[in-house]
Amino acid sequence: MASLVRSFGDRSLRSLVDLDRGLVSREIYVNEDLYKMELEQVFTRAWLFIGHEAQVPNPGDFVVSRMGEEEVILVRDRKNQLHVFLNTCRHRGMKVCRYDDGNTLVFTCPFHGWSYDTDGRLVGVPYFDAAYKGDMDKSEWGLPEVAQMCNFYGSIWATWDKGAPSFESYLGPYSDTVRRAFQSSDGEDNGVELFNPVYKWRIPCNWKFPGFSFDGDRAHAAMTHRSINVAAIGPQGDAGGGSRAPIRAPFPYTDYEMTVPELGHGGHNAIYEQPGLAEYRDTWFTEPGVDDYYRAMREKKREKYRGQYIVGETALIWPNVNIQPHRILIWHPHSVGVTESWRAYPIDRMAPQHVKDAQRRYMMRYGGPCGLTESDDMENWNYASAASFGTVAKRYPYNFMMGAGHAFVDEQRAPGMTLNYEVAEENQRSRLRRWLEFMEAGSWEDIYPVNPVSPSAGEATKSKSKVES
């Protein structure tokens, strides 16, 4: 197969992505060379979601995570500092950790016995004095650590690129959305923990099928999910026609696709006609007592946000994580035709047990590989991907025309965002535009904007966010 990839900085990729017309070559979803290039150009540069500090509450606690195709370890060292390390011994490459999570004093490689402290330092090498005779400086052979890590209100993010902008700049106008997603339901920052463990499963499709679709493909729902209401999996059970979603009582609103084209982030979000938060409406008819908790929490949050317009409840943060209240969806590239999907569920840390149980059971029956809603997504991504590899199939571009040319801005009500009708492919076109920029760029300096000023990065954010690097 002739390589499509000639050199970094090559503009020939532009022939594959025509965003003005909304036409995108299937090559970018099926081509092995482009996939390998993505691992370098996208996944070693972008800020990626790692996990949550509550997964590792005590010194020595660790949990494995993933960046692109590669396994990393999120660990809290003995001085209470968090680190993200590549899970590979510097000697011969063996995984130094083969457990999903746990607590340890050191990571000892089972191959030759090199051992690393929880802060990454190489502290033990068999035959060090007798065989190396002082020729090796252990301080140069610690575990590979990410270039930057950010603890953003409890959520942990990292990048392998020291030239990447700060995480808040990377989020831009969507930083408040991510911040709120890690609040408890009364609006307190860093108010959640994650249910353990994280779902992990393989989907036979390119990672961009779920990654670029989620929070950007409302058109799929009516057809893909036609069968779900009969199962009545929502908290309200059979009431309301068996909807899978909770009953809400929002203010009058209009839904839009809402994206930040220069950053690649985007979500389906509402612009409300009035400020503040709507009253809570009971929905947990199948689980007694749960509404009482959420109603009381909502009242506190309404007080907090009184007079403020809330814009942006969910977002796909470029390139591969969707942040929503109560769920975090991550699509790791596994091979050109396989995605390893991860799913984490935040829950109010202080919620009583019956609320945690109700929310946990709802999430388990809703999503993931055994959830009733998303199983049909998996079938569609699977066979859309499979039917795109063919020699003839690749002559036909994907159609991303929906709403192209009809985007608009509303700087007053949705600053920094580009809007389109609620069923559009604006968010997906944004992701593809950002994809092209990352794939063409020689370094972060080429990826506009290098360091945009976030209109939402207020003083509170700066003082409460602990940024470690």
Partner: protein, 179 residues
């Protein structure tokens, strides 16, 4: 004339035979896609639980399988949700089972491990083959730990089922069958 000992052996054999036949019948209902008949074998108070299997350090096996009390599992539900799954498959527009996969349940290693009034505890292993469309294949191997309750209509009802799937990262895109 059987000795008391032989009588005991015979009773155990007959009970195991009855349980094996019940499991083969259950498997046939699933493989023949008679899901309404299968859900009729499920007790109203069933706990149907398939934990996630963790990779844990030696000595920490107690937390190898996720807990139904406060952790995430592949399945952790009662009859209401199971019945919802059956209704969804029976719509004909549940795309990940439309058209139907070819699924075969092989049930082995059946052991009756306890009898308590009209309830028995039985363990078994399963090998489930799924072939979908042309060449999609998913294999599910594991063990089940059941509580079965005597029932006038169906012989037995499944009152509790713990399913230990021998996988960590789930290698199938979805699980659409029952175990």
């Amino acid at each position: 004339m059987l000795t008391e000992n032989e009588q005991g052996v015979l009773e155990r054999l007959l009970l195991r035979e009855e349980i094996e036949q019940f499991y083969y019948h259950e498997a046939a209902l699933l493989d023949d896609r008679k899901f309404d008949d299968w859900i009729n074998l499920i007790a109203d108070d069933i706990h149907y639980h398939m934990p996630i299997r963790r990779n844990v350090k030696f000595g920490e096996q107690a937390r190898e399988n996720t807990s139904s009390l406060n952790e995430i599992s592949w399945f952790d539900e009662g009859k209401r949700t199971l019945a919802g799954r059956v209704r969804q498959i029976n719509t004909g527009i549940h795309w990940c089972e439309e058209p139907f996969s070819r699924i075969r349940h092989l049930i082995t290693n059946v052991r009756v491990v306890g009898v308590d009034g009209d309830e028995i505890r039985a363990n078994s292993n399963f090998f489930v083959w799924q072939n979908r469309l042309q060449d999609e294949v998913n294999l599910f191997v594991g063990a089940r730990e059941d509580i079965l309750r005597r029932d006038e209509e169906t012989g037995w009802k499944i009152a509790k089922r713990l399913i230990l799937l021998d996988q960590n990262v789930l290698l199938a895109k979805v699980i659409t069958t029952f175990f």
